[in-house]
Point group: C2
Chain length 239, copies 2
Amino acid sequence: MATRAAPVPELERDHPCFDCAVRELAVCGVLEPAVLRDFKKSGPIAHYAAGETVVFEADAAANVYSLTGGLLRLSKLLPDGRRQIAGFLFPGDFLGITLEEEHAFTAEAVAPSTLCRFPRRQFDAFVAANPALERRLYAVAAHELAAARQQLVLLGRKTATERVASFMLILAGRCHPIVEDQDISFPMSRADIADYLGLRIETVSREISALKAARVIQLTGRQSFRVADLGRLEQLAEG
Amino acid sequence: MATRAAPVPELERDHPCFDCAVRELAVCGVLEPAVLRDFKKSGPIAHYAAGETVVFEADAAANVYSLTGGLLRLSKLLPDGRRQIAGFLFPGDFLGITLEEEHAFTAEAVAPSTLCRFPRRQFDAFVAANPALERRLYAVAAHELAAARQQLVLLGRKTATERVASFMLILAGRCHPIVEDQDISFPMSRADIADYLGLRIETVSREISALKAARVIQLTGRQSFRVADLGRLEQLAEG
DNA sequence: CGACGGATTGAAGCACCTCAACGGGAGTGG
DNA sequence: CCACTCCCGTTGAGGTGCTTCAATCCGTCG
């Protein structure tokens, strides 16, 4: 869900970010090599297994993160256990858009994930010293805001069929261009999908089965599919 | 929904922003008087009657706005007429958090409203020249993002009773501190509330009646109420 | 193989929606 | 001042889309 970055100069082979797969995608993409090297010094790499928690809701927001690999979910629990997933973070996405003292959402690894971790204080200093980074962060926040508001429409007004179709489109939309019959894999479980779409897993399952039966999509595995009829899928997603 | 600003030096009486009621609340609050005067020159005041549209979804984002009085709603329509309100803008709030070329949501005046309008190009130049403004915009975006995600929980997982109770708390939360038996007025119609909460008007009406019958709130008019039992209201809102 | 967790499918229930009637305040005109 | 209308909100009765509960399937792993 990160926006595309301006190309940065080539890095030297010994640069700590040399083999980062998402360098240009991530917020760091706007930094000059020298600055980037300096920046990276403050940020060790952290690994999380599937299911592990990166930050707890209401934890002190001591660090910010840049996701370089894997998949995270941002979620919130109600007292009785109901869960809502506010969004997924893909490689290149930034975790820590807040000026509050504590995180508002729990971030957990859906699949094994790799993150660059930066102490917030140092990160804030870096931001203050690098206007380009500040602008980039604003762009990321604005983009996430638009995505969250779009999700409000889905949760507030769409039917189960429309929600699941929209979800498929969101997944497909991560590939550019969106083409039919291209294999798309998603690491999240039916439970995650349900909690993201405000449905129950049984409903998600039924709707996926219906899309498959209608030959709009094709299941190529439990966590992968192909779009068989893009036009129809878009139609279903918008009501 | 705006965050509190640092106090600014006193303005001269002839300053165009001298009698702005939300100066310190709005994004302009971080600007020095001289800069502010310069800034304001680029921004004429616009008035909108209740029901009028400030920006249409998919319109070119040629301007940004600062709301100085009234109330706006941000909404999106599905092809068949279903509507979702993504949020309300109160005085001091900023309209135009996006780097896209077009607006993603329609903004309409719920009540007669007054806005400062700035051409986006000039505004962007101002932002680039004023790091404090840039930081402030980021803070606003981060805050709106948190609010939108909180709303996702409401729309995805809360019952009708919980939604309406939460809405009452949001309204009450705009007064600091939240005290019982203080009159709170809201200019939006039941239809607006319903489209904000992802419910139908009838359901909103029934739930409000139920809260009233349970003596949790007290209706003091069609568009005003008092919190009679804050603890109970909070309990109902959280499930 | 048997056990386990995740996914699917079926049948019944319920929360909210839909449709419909009614109520009440604001504005208008006699 | 009242009669009328209009709009918004409220209330009631019946319908439905998603949930709930339950059984089964299937791939994985010991």
